[in-house]
C-alpha cells in the first residue's frame, strides 16, 4: 500500500499527487515511469515520474483524467492508499550537455517533460521550452519549467495565451530565425510528436519522443506495449519509453492505442452510473 501524501489540482482535469514509495524514489530518474493499480479490481496504468524526492521518499505523478482509472484516481485524497505502485520502469533519458536543447511539451505531456528540462539544464544545456495546450486554463507547471529554461514559449489553440496555434509553429519560427538547435525533446499527444518529428527530420535535428502505448505489466513480459521503431519491434516499457522520433511509426501507435476504446467507454459509463 502506498500513501498519497499530497494532492493538488493543477487544472480542470489535471491533478498532481505525491506518493510515498521510498525504494522507487531512491532510484527514479528523468524519463522513467511507474505502474499503479488503485485497488483489487483495478487496471494497471502507467504514469510518468514527474518528480521525486529521494529524502522524503516520494514520487510525484501528474495525470489527466481521461478514463475510468484516472478519474477514480482523481477522486482520491491525501491520506488514501494506492494498492500497487511499481517502478521506476523504463530506460532513463539520456542526459548530457548537447548544447542548445529545445523542449516541447503538449498537454499533460508537459508533466514528464519537466524533470528532463531540469536535468538538461543542470547538465549545462541552453534550454528553450515550448509548452502547448488547448487554452490557458490547461497550462500546467509553467513556473517550474520556466525556472530551468533560458527561454519559454507558450502556444494555445485558441490564442488565450502566447502564440495562437501549435508548438510546431513556434519551433518552425525558431528554426527560421536561425536558432542553432542541437536536440529536440517532444512529449505530448502522438499527433504532436509526429508533426514535430516530421519537421525536425527536414533539418536533420536529433529528436527524442516519449511514447505512451497501452501497457499491462511494464516488465517486458506481455508485448502489449510494442511499437515499431525503424522497422523493428520494440517494447516501450523496457526499450523506451523514449525513442528516436525520426524512426517511430506513429500511425501504428495511434491505431494500437485505440484497441480498447469501446470497452473503456463502457467501463466509464458504468462507473458513472
Amino acid at each position: 500500500m502506498y500513501e498519497i501524501i499530497e494532492k493538488q489540482v493543477l487544472s480542470e482535469n489535471v491533478k498532481l499527487m505525491k506518493v510515498k514509495a521510498p525504494l522507487m524514489a531512491k532510484k527514479a530518474q528523468a524519463g522513467q515511469f511507474i505502474i499503479l493499480r488503485i485497488d483489487e479490481k483495478g487496471e494497471r496504468i502507467p504514469l510518468t515520474i514527474a518528480d521525486y524526492d529521494r529524502k522524503k521518499g516520494t514520487i510525484t505523478i501528474i495525470f489527466m483524467e481521461v478514463g475510468k482509472t484516472t478519474k477514480q484516481l482523481g477522486t482520491m485524497k491525501k491520506g488514501d492508499m494506492i494498492l500497487n505502485f511499481a517502478g521506476p520502469l523504463g530506460t532513463p533519458s539520456e542526459v548530457e550537455n548537447f548544447g542548445n536543447a529545445v523542449m516541447i511539451g503538449g498537454g499533460v505531456g508537459i508533466a514528464p517533460l519537466y524533470p528532463i528540462v531540469r536535468a538538461l539544464k543542470q547538465a549545462g544545456n541552453h534550454v528553450i521550452s515550448i509548452l502547448g495546450v488547448r487554452n490557458k486554463d490547461l497550462l500546467i507547471l509553467e513556473k517550474e519549467i520556466d525556472e530551468f529554461s533560458d527561454k519559454l514559449y507558450i502556444a494555445t489553440d485558441d490564442g488565450s495565451k502566447g502564440h495562437k496555434g501549435f508548438v510546431s509553429d513556434v519551433l518552425q519560427k525558431l528554426i527560421d530565425d536561425g536558432e542553432k538547435i542541437d536536440i529536440v525533446w517532444a512529449i505530448g499527444p502522438i499527433i504532436m510528436m509526429k508533426v514535430v518529428a516530421n519537421l525536425t527530420k527536414k533539418y536533420d535535428i536529433k529528436t527524442i519522443v516519449s511514447l505512451n502505448p497501452i501497457m499491462v505489466d511494464g516488465t517486458g513480459m506481455c508485448g502489449g506495449c510494442r511499437v515499431s521503431v525503424g522497422g523493428e519491434t520494440k517494447f516501450a516499457c523496457v526499450d523506451g519509453p523514449e525513442f528516436d522520433g525520426h524512426l517511430v511509426d506513429y500511425d501504428n501507435l495511434m491505431l494500437r492505442n485505440r484497441r480498447f476504446i469501446c470497452e473503456e467507454e463502457k467501463a466509464c459509463k458504468l462507473a458513472g452510473e
Binding site: 525504494l23 487496471e43 521506476p88 499491462v216 513480459m221 519491434t233 463502457k266 467501463a267
Partner: protein
C-alpha cells in the same frame, strides 16, 4: 485379484457446459475412488516412478497410506517433498514423468499418481492446512527474485531449514505463470493463493511491486542478504516475425492470458481491465500455452477457435490431456500450416491471415521432422484475433543488470546442476536458467538450489 488395467475415471464438466464458464474442468477423485485407485499400486521395490519425479516425491509411500485409508499420513509424506502439491497434481506432465515410469504401463494404464496427488492436496486444503513446526532460526537471510514455482519452492525449502527468506516479485500477485499464464479452468487462482499462503506461513515474506534490476539491483540485495536466488522465468514473448504482426487484433499469448487470468478481464467490467476478441480467433503454436489460448477464446465467446501449427499432430508439444480437452471443446486444428502474413482493413484492424501448407522433411536438430513449405499453396483464413503462442525466451532484465553474470546463448543464466551461477552467493533456476520448461522442473530447480544455498551459508 487381478489389477484393474485402467485408471479410475475422474469426473469432469461436459464440454458443452464448460466452454461457457471459467470453472475448473475436472472435479477430482472422491475419497473412495482415491483409495480404490491407490490399491492398484504394486509397491514396486525398485520404485521406478520416483526416478521420474523431478522433486523426488516418495510416491509408493504416500500411495500406500491412501490405500490403507490413512489420508492425513499420506498428506504428510507428500508434503515432505513438495510445497505446491495442488499445483503439480493439476499441471504436471506426469504422463512423461512419474507415470511414464510406472510398472503398470506393461499391462495397461499407470497408477493415476497425479490425480492422487491432487486428491490429497484438495483434501488437506478443505480441512485447513497444517503448518510444520518451525526450525531453529539460523540467522541467515536469503533474497528470492520472482515468485514463480522455482522461487516459491526455493523459498519454502529454505524457510523450513530455518533461514529468513524474502521474495521480491515485480507484479502485484504471486505465482508467476501459475497466476498470469495458466487459466482459471485448469488451475483455479484460489488454489495458487492457498499454496502461497502456506509458504508465507512457513515464515516467508513476499514483497510485490519490486522489479529487481530497476527498483533495486541484485548487488544491492546482496548487501543486505547472505545469498540470492533468481527465478525470474521465461517471460519474453517470441514473435512470428511476419508482416502485419503489429495490427490491432494481434496479441502475444502472454498479453492475452495476463489480461484474462491475472487481471480477470473475463469479468470485465466488474474488473477494470478489458480484453477484446472477435468471432474468429486463431492461435499460432501447439504447446500448452497455445491450448490455453484457444480454449480461453471459446470461453470468451469466440465462435471459431483455430490452432494453426506448422508441423503435424505427432509433433505438438502440448500435453495429450490438453489437446484432448481442446478437441472435445471444439477447437479446430489446422496442422501443417504456417502463417506468412497478417492483413488488416483500411483502419488497420486485423481481418485475415495468409498461410502456406507444409510437408514434413528430415528430422532437424530437435529430432522432430522439419516442416517444409509447399510452394504455391498459399491460402487465406478470415480471422478477427490472432494469438501468438510460439514460445518465450528468458526475461532479459536480470541478465542485463548483474555485472559479470555468465549468460548462455539463449539469454539464459548459466548454472551448474545445483543452481550455482558463476558469482558466489547468486543462484538461479527454473525457466530463467533452462528456457521455457515445466512447473515441476522449475520446482525441482528451486529445491536443488535451496540445498546448495543452505550448504553455501554454512
Amino acid at each position: 485379484m487381478a489389477v484393474k488395467k485402467t485408471k479410475h475415471e475422474m469426473p469432469e464438466q461436459k464440454p458443452k457446459d464448460r466452454i461457457k464458464n471459467f470453472n475448473e474442468v475436472p472435479y477430482g477423485y472422491d475419497e473412495k475412488t482415491a483409495i480404490e485407485e491407490a490399491k492398484r499400486c504394486l509397491q514396486c521395490k525398485n520404485r521406478p516412478c520416483v526416478d521420474g519425479c523431478p522433486v523426488e516425491i516418495d510416491i509408493p509411500d504416500f500411495i500406500k497410506q491412501i490405500a490403507e485409508g490413512n489420508i492425513d499420513k499420506a498428506v504428510e509424506v507428500l508434503k515432505s517433498k513438495t510445497s505446491l502439491p495442488a499445483v503439480c497434481g493439476r499441471v504436471c506432465p506426469y504422463e512423461n514423468q512419474c507415470e511414464g515410469e510406472c510398472t503398470l504401463l506393461k499391462i495397461g494404464e499407470p497408477v493415476a499418481i497425479g490425480r492422487l496427488e491432487r486428491f490429497l492436496a484438495d483434501y488437506e486444503r478443505d480441512k485447513g492446512m497444517k503448518i510444520p513446526k518451525k526450525t531453529r532460526p539460523t540467522g541467515k537471510k536469503v533474497a528470492i527474485v520472482g515468485s514463480g514455482p522455482a522461487g516459491l519452492t526455493c523459498a519454502g525449502d529454505l524457510a523450513k531449514m530455518g533461514h529468513k527468506v524474502t521474495v521480491f516479485e515485480a507484479l502485484h500477485a504471486p505465482g508467476g505463470v501459475l497466476m498470469y499464464g495458466i487459466p482459471e479452468f485448469r488451475l483455479p487462482k484460489a488454489i495458487v493463493n492457498a499454496e502461497v499462503d502456506y509458504i508465507k506461513q512457513l515464515g516467508v515474506d513476499v514483497k510485490y511491486d519490486v522489479v529487481v534490476g530497476k527498483t533495486i539491483t541484485v548487488e544491492e540485495l546482496l548487501e543486505e542478504y547472505d545469498a540470492a536466488f533468481i527465478g525470474t522465468g521465461a517471460g519474453l514473448p517470441r514473435w512470428l516475425g511476419i508482416p502485419g504482426e503489429n495490427l490491432d487484433g494481434v496479441y502475444s499469448a502472454n498479453e492475452f492470458l495476463t489480461r484474462v487470468n491475472m487481471m480477470k478481464a473475463y469479468q470485465f467490467p466488474e474488473y477494470d481491465t478489458p480484453v477484446k476478441i472477435g468471432k474468429i480467433v486463431a492461435t499460432f503454436g501447439a504447446g500448452n500455452v497455445a491450448m490455453d489460448c484457444a480454449r480461453t477464446s471459446l470461453r470468451l465467446g469466440a465462435e471459431k477457435s483455430y490452432i494453426i501449427y506448422r508441423r503435424s499432430e505427432k509433433e505438438m508439444p502440448a500435453r495429450n490431456e490438453e489437446i484432448h480437452h481442446a478437441e472435445e471443446e471444439g477447437v479446430i486444428f489446422k496442422l501443417l500450416t504456417n502463417p506468412v502474413k497478417f492483413t488488416g482493413d483500411e483502419k488497420g484492424i486485423l481481418k485475415e491471415v495468409e498461410c502456406l501448407k507444409m510437408e514434413l522433411g528430415e528430422p532437424d536438430e530437435s529430432g522432430r521432422r522439419r516442416p517444409i513449405p509447399i510452394e504455391g499453396s498459399n491460402f487465406k483464413i478470415k480471422i478477427d484475433t490472432a494469438l501468438v503462442a510460439i514460445g518465450q525466451s528468458p526475461n532479459p532484465l536480470i541478465p542485463a543488470t548483474v555485472k559479470g553474470l555468465k549468460i548462455g546463448k539463449w539469454g539464459n543464466i548459466e548454472t551448474d546442476e545445483e543452481g550455482r551461477t558463476n558469482i558466489p552467493g547468486i543462484f538461479a533456476g527454473g525457466d530463467i536458467a533452462t528456457g521455457a520448461a515445466t512447473v515441476i522442473l522449475a520446482m525441482g530447480a528451486g529445491k536443488k538450489a535451496a540445498r546448495a544455498i543452505d550448504q553455501y551459508l554454512k
